[in-house]
């Protein structure tokens, strides 16, 4: 996998040593547990959120009195959620004027609908991935992200 991630330049290697902090957003408890486990096995630090509002709070876009704001390197969100969809969350992140808009957002969906995929990518989603997620999907994702970084 190291070979697949470029020539091994300094920036690529140092990126690979940093632990990715991922914010994982999904309203389904089972999917949240799975996503968390897959990410942890892939050496990521994980924070889970059960909906878009909680995710925004963790990102510092919620209540100004918020104390548990954290820095994340990646947001992985389900598309279909009650209340705020993953797409709406994506847009909120991307329309930020702060560094937050640079955080890659990956959308997960069980449904492979081209118009849905296109609108997410057009609105700045890093990737669109199909559920259920496999361990190999996250490995590919990490490689893709680290390639983009260096």
């Amino acid at each position: 996998m190291k070979n697949g991630c470029g020539s091994g330049s300094e920036s690529c290697l140092s990126s690979m040593e940093e632990e990715l902090h991922v914010l994982a957003v999904d309203d389904n408890l089972i999917d949240r547990k799975l996503l968390e486990r897959i990410l942890k096995i892939s050496s990521c630090k994980v924070t889970t959120a059960e909906n878009g509002l909680r995710a925004l709070e963790y990102l510092g876009l919620g209540d100004p009195q918020q104390t548990n704001v954290m820095k994340v390197n990646l947001i992985i969100t389900d598309y279909c959620m009650p209340g705020m969809t993953g797409f709406e969350l994506l847009k909120k992140v991307k329309q930020e004027s702060s560094n937050l808009k640079e955080v890659p957002v990956v959308i997960l969906s069980s449904e492979n609908i081209p118009t849905r995929i296109n609108k997410c990518l057009a609105s700045g989603a890093q990737m669109f991935m199909q559920k259920p997620l496999k361990l190999s999907d996250v490995e590919k994702l990490k490689c893709h992200l680290l390639n983009c970084r260096s």
Partner: protein
């Protein structure tokens, strides 16, 4: 029954669940997430699935028994069940949910009732089979043995 026989029984039993289409490869993915640091991961997630599904099926029964069925309430429940069953590899439950959703879209109450029965049937089947699987695993572990890996040639 000695340890080797128990392990063989478990392997055969697990294989049969795949051959019957009750489980699909996503269940194998789940098993890959289990290791010495998380030795009960599969049964933990499956238990969550059982608890969640029991609740959803109950809500679905109630919703479909209303005088006027609110499909805006019914569909999200089926969607959720479809998602969780897919995530743990309960293939037949997932497929039954797909059919269910298409009838929700058509707002066909009678068909939805039949679908709910079908989903329940598939759910109780996979629940029963997985509970048996976990019992077999527990017997092996209690006898000091290791759970043999599943070899399916997928």
């Amino acid at each position: 029954m000695d340890l080797v026989q128990m392990q063989k029984s478990l392997q055969d039993y697990t294989k049969s669940l795949f051959l019957e289409g009750i489980l699909d490869s996503q269940f194998l993915q789940l098993q890959q997430l289990q290791d010495e640091s998380n030795p009960d991961f599969v049964s933990q997630v499956v238990t969550l699935f059982f608890q969640d599904s029991d609740r959803i099926l109950n809500d679905l029964s109630l919703s479909l028994d209303q005088q006027v069925v609110d499909f805006k309430k019914v569909d999200p429940h089926v969607h959720q069940l479809k998602g969780s069953s897919s995530s743990i590899g309960a293939q037949r439950v997932k497929n039954a949910c797909v059919v269910f959703r298409s009838f929700c879209e058509q707002q066909n109450v009678e068909a939805c009732h039949r679908c709910l029965q079908q989903v329940k049937q598939e759910y109780y089947l996979v629940k029963n089979r997985l509970e048996t699987l976990f019992k077999l695993e527990q017997q092996i572990v209690a006898s000091g043995g290791m759970i043999p890996p599943v070899e399916l040639g997928f």
